[in-house]
Symmetry: D2
Subunit: 158 residues, 4 copies
């Protein structure tokens, strides 16, 4: 079975996040990884577009029970119908989780991925977390570029 | 996007159901449809095996949060972690739902597919349902063979 | 902790089913059981009404993420937002499951309750199930009245 | 129907968080609010204990499909069986959401509550969030004590 990488990010994103997401999608597809994403617009559409441009497989795990709003570059659509509970399904589906940019929904995916605890979680941009004493939390690995994000997953050593 | 067909059936199945499931998987893959199934043994493994033998894409929507017990012929694995609630996700993912054989889990999928009500539901063998007056329920379309099951979906008109 | 009984049934029901549901709710509340139901109209509203008339606690486990359509007699509302997947949650919440009347959604709850397999499942009216050879399935216990339904749960011996 | 307040917090918590949670539970019960929580140990058990000490109703929305590990002070148990996806259900169930302390699971609940966006979200201690430019996020209302937390919900004006 192919490696699967969940890529999470907001509907409303900056141009830089969109560009990063497209590049992450392209790089994942080049390495033969299946991309799992939320299936809608913004970062989700950009990572799908990038992966498809390189001939990759992209699965959109939708919150809705139908395909309304699903992006055009998905290979497979899973209209879960479970609402935001689908965020837990997305992060369960990755051998690694890459988070690009920030939003409340995206933060919930980052948190659920860390809660799951069995796979590398990589943040590219986005929000920062401090513990109760104001110190940066030891959490996701931080990457400064799409290439670094893939390297930080540790899935493709050397 | 490719047509997606959800195929449901029990872990414990007869040799005939297993053979039917393999043939349904093969025929779906030949028509370019993506197969969505539960991802474990029995009918689920047989439909996956049939689809893969014809070069098709098979998505296993698992009840567990990890890949334990997932079959060897899945192209993509979605370890939902939502238990039997994943049955609703499987039936939401099909442009048609084909049910092969009978079990309580399978019956829940048949019922959820009929409840959804927007797509053709086809039964190949399996259990029968009577209304409160003992009359056969107008429900799923019944097929007597894998070929008839695909025809009954109406997705590939003549 | 109080005994919890899940009561399932259709939105559209006969007058007899509504009357049975109200009586089941009343009898459960009299025995101190918490009633878990789907929280909307029909059988769901009737069992809630019966239970509240006897001072009982009724939990409505809703498919929607908000309270729209929730009945007036619920003590607690859980707007799951997971759609029909909430049917699995309802049946998981009962020390016994009582099914009144028939519909596709109700059948999915009966099937999920039997699939769960750890608690008594009692049918009061509703649909009938035959195996692949046309024989009645050994499944839920059948009851002919609300009193019999409670007795058939085995939760209140002697 | 009674006001419902979801109270979220980690299994592993400090003595102060446990004490705060117990007091929040007590104060909510005194105001007649139903407490919705995750049903296990730590902050969840403490809020349940506080609410029960004041005669309140406490609903434990469990990740597991059975009651294993459920706390002793729950009035009602909903063993969802949907794993961490149940976090979305907890936050959907509150007219307000109070978050005490920090953990990855707790952060996912805070994020899902903010994502939901229709109800007040109050943080008592716990983690801090910065946006991509390192500025504190406009997010949950912050409270310094259990009394302030209840006041910050705005549910009991003056």
């Amino acid at each position: 079975m192919a490696i699967q990488v969940a890529v999470c990010g907001p509907r409303d994103c900056t141009a830089e996040e969109e560009s990063d997401a497209r590049e992450v999608g392209r790089l994942l597809a080049e390495r033969g990884a299946v991309v799992i994403c939320g299936g809608y617009t913004g970062v989700m559409a950009a990572v799908a577009s990038g992966a498809r441009s390189a001939g990759g497989t992209v699965v959109g795990v939708l919150s809705r029970a139908d395909r309304e709003g699903a992006g055009p570059d998905l290979s497979v659509v899973i209209p879960t119908g479970v609402g935001e509970a689908r965020n837990a399904i997305i992060v369960n589906s990755g051998d690694a989780v890459i988070v690009i940019g920030g939003s409340w929904g995206t933060l919930s995916e980052l948190a659920l991925a860390m809660r799951r605890g069995r796979v590398p979680v990589v943040q590219l941009g986005g929000w920062r977390l401090l513990d109760r004493d104001g110190r940066p939390l030891a959490g996701a690995r931080h990457a400064a570029s799409p290439e670094e994000a893939l390297a930080a997953t540790g899935l493709w050593p050397g």
